[in-house]
Symmetry: D2
Subunit: 382 residues, 4 copies
């Protein structure tokens, strides 16, 4: 495994490394960690790398690693948004598999281009919509797929955070970090791109439904910012269900409250990222059921594939869910290397189509936010 | 106290009677309980009334009670929506105070007419938006008023219920009850009028803010129904805050989940009707605080006026909150009878202006639901 | 209904009155509210009583009420512990039914004597172990009775409170109230008598098991007190199950945290008084189930007899549970007056045998607390 | 790092490896994984080891590794209880640091002998009482140490599990695993040794108090078992506080419910292992506070030393807590290798004294369980 971005001090790079390390089967051996040569060098030392495989640029890394016999099997791209597409393209075209942070690209056009590159090269491409890595989210998806909820009537997805609250009353470069609020580096959206897209992905993953139309009310509460930090959206889903999706970075005291409720004619379910080991299923004519991670009564969706590492009630968290994305992608990569066929039902990790859908969500929400019409339709792809 | 509607077997009538009884200071002595004479008679027996004061019609009741020396001090109107305005008008004009179930009237026009009647007669008029009777809701309102949350940026109010779910897959006259879904009896709205208006009232009560514009997505999932059973709404509030308000009767397994979250620059709060004795206050830079009913550290808003009846952690519930509306209204009535001035700060019960605001909400939400424009403005009153 | 004790300002008297009032079927008409004549008189005014029926002493009240044609059907005794037995005896022997606060008497001997008086007179005697009035507690009991938990292996009952914490660091007459810590008025125990006995009663009510042996560790943390304010107890139950029962008044910040967990071979259950509308049932091989008050899927134990007053998720609390004791006792009294037979399965309220068991618990726990032997056996009664 | 035990399929070995891997600083290079040579070989392959460093016995491993220049810095011992002491002794005496699973030894005598070996050799010895690795447990300990709770009056520690419930009604070799219930391999205790000792360690860690006397009621509910599967214990603590500690393997449906409540004169705290990212602090005169992992308002005890890896509300769990034991022990080992002094305040991991205290707890509880006297004193060591 190699890494682009994620040098010393970068939060998300460390998360990717922990997720990759967890099962003891993936080794970081190369990287282009920073545009700053000294920081890159120090990062290489932190990670015990051969200095020859610590590169100044991703371009150099592509060239050198693709020509080594023991070159990396895949690269993790953990740079700011505007630096996802160029290295992804370069590695894929050099025959190296890619695991990439979300949102996938800067624009829907780039996303569609990347999709065609993935299809052309036939390489593995995984996108770290990590919240779908939780076993109980996988169980939720299975329940919907198996019809245990009946027909879905309504979905409420929400992702309130409060970490930017401190900036509301003064123009500061606070914890949001410079690049996320800089349109050149993050694209046209801040809050919808950073967290709204996770809620959208989770909705799609669990329900199997697509959003067809959106009505967005976007706000920028932090003075001096160009991009939105709060968004409330009404949704129409492709089976006729209604939906609500709201996300925000100015919800004082909320932490990482990604929550979803899915209401069906037979039952409904709810899941809360801050309490990820539980899945609540509700009925209008029977007691509620609390499904808990690690129990034998769960299906293979949650218990199979190594997705569950410890027995019930040994809480698993964010890193384990993240590691499940790596685990499934690494399996796909290993199968490709070994010439094994994909398992029946495919691999369970977010792929390039999810990235395209995410970019469509971001662009349509921003477009709706600027429109006086109630509904803005999602683009369709043949 | 007299009662219009609420005969044997009527749920909401029984709630009003329990609420009135609770403190041992109000006695039911007269009523026009039912259009069915036998049911009216039996109801009178159930409530140990003098048969002379069990009336066939509210008109007879107005006439007889207003001419008795020991006539009722006030009447509770607990009939279906279309039978709120006529008796309210009649009793007020006969000089009898009124406590009325919500929504106040069938239309905004009626609401405005009732307001002018209340103002003209000078009688007490209380509307049982009972959820504002909870002590922790009162404390929440005080916190906002005292600036403990700072400037309000966002509000999320929701009221999912599942009791009509059983009807989605077949056309039945289920637990929703016939009249609520009959436009002639309930007015132009079912779900927004029945429960959305509670969420709207709670938002106004706690934040002191008014909704200026709404964008509504209303659905009718139950076949054969004319009126909506699900509604998702985006809100603009009059201080520039954004809002979400969703309510539904087809949220399988949800019970009476009226919830509100208010996000401010200094702190945020959340309150859940199903766990009414707690108020959660969150900060981005300090531990969360859980305020619990009955503790000395709460203010007079929660602890004063008899609104708290038992020590901490002797759970108080729906009936006690409902009784608090009666308690405050009865105080206003007693003060009027005794010629005492209103207390500084006024009485703490929902009044005719709240009813007008509620009807404005219902009519504007329904209008928005039928519109292709994103935002529909609330009417303004001089 | 008449009342002994419970004058103006007395907490428990007010609770009894609210509980009695709630259903609109019981009227307070007489009382001996206070040894202080002025306070007694004012209390009578508060409750709108005929001054002729406000008595200076309970003895006078017994005499006068038992000779009136319209004398009270029953009396509620809400005095300190040492004043339970004498009035209970007097009213019963005068043919007047009794509802009495707990603990029933000052000693086990008195309790046994009261039992024989109840049996001799044939009058109704109810003891307000109010926590058994909660519908979900009744459902829990039914589950155990119906074998849904299998064989009971272990029970954990606890009742931590913190209201006396403020007194630990200084000798004050704090919120505990003078008489509870005065052996002459409360008997040999403070904490076990006041709240431990509720936990013991709840355990017996739900499981149908009796404690046979106890091992008690009692502490007095508040300086200057004679009686214990903290107690931890190991239990042996009569079916071979093990048990833990701990109760305390110095558990800082705990409010009224009466909790019980019952573990059986097929399932286990837990119930928490501070969240009384839920009953949690757990299985080692199936998802947990959350049973919630007011739902149709509950049995008659919870839903029948008027014990449930509002639909699901309109939270019911302490007063409603208390009212259920009154409701069941009033039914027994009415049946006796009307000459109706008791219903099959009997009445569902705590009676004199429960009071005897409670006094046995208190005396045995105190005895064990003073003993160096591990186990102290409960007395047995033929 | 080397490993003794923990071959393919062993749960706790995998946990240790994930914990060691997590931060990318520890590499497994050698092991004596199994007495079964084939299983040992396959395990070596699983972990990508040099076959020369996959040993048949721990004795061979000690000899070979201690004579290699690049021999392991430390060994993890993850065998059944009876195989803790012999390899620990051997590695320490060969100059190799040790991380060992709990309980530390088969008996208190062995524990004391191991302590003297650790002291004599001066090597690092860490015991994986992993629950003290949780950041919020570390914050709890700091609060007590800083006096924020005042004087501790009472502690309730509990560890109910239900995983053996299925065996109660029939004699089976169920999920408990053979060796834990075999006195030759597990020692004199099953439930107290396996989980009771975790509760005891947690109590000591957070409060800084020692248990001086215990009164134990031990039960064996599973037929055919020699050792206890349920234990309820009263405690006296060395500052005069009272305590309750109960643990069980037959609590149907409970999972890994290690919970602790610590009651002090100024405040109390509670922590639940199944919800490990929260710490609840309660006051009798102020709102409860919920401290949540990852927030800046926490102290260095939780946030320092790398103990917190992800921002707030990215749930951390069992593995991360376990990894914190490895992190702190590895720091001690690195400091010893590099000749650096220990940090002020020492290292934060369970050491040999904690192992001795744990064995004293187990032996005294079992002794008390067999005694008719109420209290059994803990042994004291000079």
């Amino acid at each position: 495994m190699g890494m682009v971005g994620g040098g010393r001090g970068a939060f998300i790079g460390q998360v990717h490394r922990m997720a990759a390390n967890l099962d003891g089967k993936i080794e970081l051996v190369a990287g282009a960690f920073s545009a700053d040569p000294e920081k890159a060098r120090l990062s290489g030392e932190d990670f015990f790398l051969d200095p020859d495989r610590v590169y100044a640029t991703y371009e150099e890394m592509v060239e050198k690693e693709s020509s080594r016999e023991d070159g990396i099997d895949f690269v993790s791209i953990v740079t700011p948004n505007y630096l996802h597409f160029p290295p992804a393209k370069a590695f894929l075209e050099a025959g190296i598999n890619v695991i990439c942070d979300k949102p996938m690209t800067l624009s829907l056009d780039e996303a569609l281009e990347l999709k065609s590159i993935v299809e052309k090269t036939g390489k593995v491409f995984a996108l770290t919509h990590n919240y779908t890595g939780y076993p109980m989210v996988k169980e939720a998806r299975r329940m919907v797929k198996d019809g245990e909820l009946g027909r879905i009537l309504k979905v409420v997805a929400e992702y309130p955070q409060g970490y930017a609250t401190g900036s509301v009353d003064e123009v500061v470069e606070g914890p949001i970090g410079g690049w996320r609020t800089d349109p050149k580096k993050s694209g046209i959206s801040n809050c919808m791109a950073d967290i709204g897209t996770h809620a959208h992905n989770l909705l799609r993953y669990i329900t199997g439904l697509e959003v067809t139309d959106i009505c967005s009310h976007l706000s920028t509460f932090i003075p001096g910012r160009e991009l939105e930090d709060d968004g409330n959206n009404l949704l129409k889903l492709d089976n006729g269900a209604s939906g609500v999706l709201h996300a925000s970075q100015i919800c004082n005291g909320d932490e990482n409250a990604l929550n979803i409720r899915v209401y069906g004619t037979k039952a409904s379910l709810e899941w809360h990222q801050e309490d990820p080991n539980e899945l609540i299923v509700k009925y209008h004519d029977a007691p509620r059921r609390i499904y808990r991670r690690g129990n034998d009564y769960l299906s293979d969706a949650a218990n199979g594939n190594g997705f569950t590492r410890t027995p019930f009630a040994h809480p698993e968290g964010f890193i384990e869910a993240f590691a499940n994305i790596y685990l499934a992608a690494a399996q796909a990569i290993a199968d490709q290397i070994d010439g094994n066929p994909a398992p029946e039902g495919g691999y369970d990790f977010p792929a390039v189509d999810d990235g395209v859908a995410g970019m469509a969500f971001i662009e349509t929400a921003i477009k709706s936010g600027q429109s006086d019409e109630k509904w803005t339709s999602f683009p369709t792809f043949s």
